[in-house]
Amino acid sequence: MEHTGLLRRRVAANAMASKLMKLLTIISLLTLLIIGVGLYYKSTAILGEHSLWSLLTGKEWSPLSGQFGFRPFIVSSVYVTVLSVAIALPVALLTALFLTENAKPWITKVVFPILDILAGIPSVVYGLWGTLIIVPWIADSFGPLFVDYTSGYTLLAGGIVLSVMIIPLLVSLFIELFSAVPKDFKDASASLGATRWQTSRLVVVRKASPGIIAAVVLAISKAFGETLAVLMVCGNMVGIPHSLFDSAYPLPALIANNYGEMLSLPKYESALMFASLLMFVIILIFNAISRVVLQKVEQKFKL
């Protein structure tokens, strides 16, 4: 009798745990939906007053008089992001190729922990480094070569600091992709007389290209959402930047800078929540696409 009692308890515990775990899983899946709906709900106030189009393309930003044009911020965000990826991509590609195809084992042993640490350094530390090294460098050495005066707190500074922040992500994704390319392909290429670089360029990179695109999209969404570092080095002046040496004011910086006073002005809170919603939607789409592509690539290589 006691044995059946024990068995029943064990089975009941299993069934209970199963339900509980399912609940937890589903609730955490719903967070995505809840965040989206919550932010949308908060943005309805401003969406009701201005059309989506006028919000996205308007140039005037003066919360005091109720004008909310997000174009300067969107343009700044896009410029900073594109710039950072343009700097990071070649460096990350070459580094990853070097580490997977050419480097001696001791070099990878040194570089991997460094990438780990770079990936773990908090964004405020990157921001501090940017203000101490990159900003003065642009203001005193690099900027004067091209323009008469620049404060250093520029689009370029944001792009450089962000690129350093996404390089570890890109390199580790690339290494994963490149080492998944079957060795037979490389051997076949080598036996046809290709040099190692030709093999890397024509076989490894080409084979991994869908994955590379997905990784870049992932890096874009990381750079796009990065807040504190860009807030510290971009200058944050409202206006569309016309050169690398102009100040920029990306969306995350806008939100972080103004959360304090957003409750004091009508529609201001709603406008900032609309900015968050915008970032959420863009990053959601970018992330989902790149993840699906990466999964497909992974499956293809496994066959």
Binding site: L39, A103, I133, G225, L263
Partner: protein, 282 residues
């Protein structure tokens, strides 16, 4: 010499250069933070609360931020573990390999992983307004927990996926229920849990954008969940914007402290992963 060999040479050089550039960035960051931070990193800095006139360059330390950060990180790591371990078990033990729910769960956690902390922060802020809550320790803990659950799930799932199905079958054949078989999986993913924890602690302690809205800032150590809490990254950020050099120097020291914590976590991560692997069956 043939063109392809010239090309090979050039690109070999470029690859080495690129790697050196990455190394150079790393060295420059560590050197800058260490050089500016060490002179002002004193015992007083880490053991005292901000005194009167602290933000004008007078006496005091950043114990408020250290304590606040530790509280938030500790609580949210525990909460995050408590929530994500069952999720990993559910996806890997209870659901079938080809299950749709498992597919969507993995995809959603991947996407959640990419959502920037400022969006989490803004969202949590609206929720807090909705419930009439002020910036508080609790708010910070909730945001950081939300932020690190995807890290936990993703990195533990990566390890749990590779646990051999035979191992589970062996447990079932001995009459174990699925719940009891989770114990077997737990031993297999122990190194994964350790690495995931260190990863999340690193991210949790360095995150600023999320707590900016939700935890607020204070000069005291919070004694209850509804009191605001200071955090290290924000302490760096706020002190850095000061026009007074002494205050800025303390920001450098706080940044160095933060960097040291992250470095230590990263190094222990590598060591611990090895130690926890003794029960691992390949």
């Amino acid at each position: 010499m043939k063109l392809k060999f010239v090309e090979e040479r050039i690109f070999n050089l470029l690859m080495v250069l690129a790697t050196l550039v990455v190394f150079g960035f790393f060295a420059s960051i560590i050197w800058t933070i260490a050089r500016t931070g060490f002179p002002s990193l004193t015992w007083e800095m880490v053991s005292q609360l901000p005194g009167g006139g602290f933000y004008l360059g007078k006496d005091g330390g950043i114990l408020n931020a250290i304590a606040g950060s530790l509280m938030i990180v500790f609580a949210s790591t525990l909460l995050g573990l408590a929530i994500s371990i069952p999720i990993v078990f559910y996806i890997n033990v209870y659901l079938k390999k080809a299950s749709r729910l498992a597919y969507f769960a993995r995809l959603s956690f991947d996407v959640l992983f990419g959502i920037p902390s400022i969006v989490y922060g803004a969202f949590a802020f609206t929720i807090m307004i909705f419930f009439g809550l002020k910036t508080s320790l609790l708010g910070g803990i909730i945001v950081i927990t939300l932020l690190i659950i995807p890290i936990f799930v993703r990195s533990m799932d990566e390890v749990a996926k590779s646990v051999s199905k035979d191992l589970l079958d062996a447990a079932y054949s001995l009459g174990a229920t699925k719940l009891e078989s989770c114990g077997v999986v737990l031993r297999q993913i122990a190194p994964g849990i350790a690495t995931a924890t260190l990863l999340s602690v690193g991210r949790a302690i360095g995150d600023a954008a999320g707590v900016l809205f939700t935890a607020g800032f204070t000069d005291n150590i919070p004694t209850a969940l509804n009191e605001p809490a200071a955090t290290l990254p924000l302490s760096v950020f706020f002190q850095l914007s000061s026009p007074i050099p002494e205050v800025r120097e303390r920001a450098y020291a706080a940044a160095l402290l933060l960097t040291i914590i992250v470095l230590v976590l990263s190094v222990t991560g590598r060591l611990v992963t090895g130690r926890f692997s003794k029960n691992r069956i390949k």
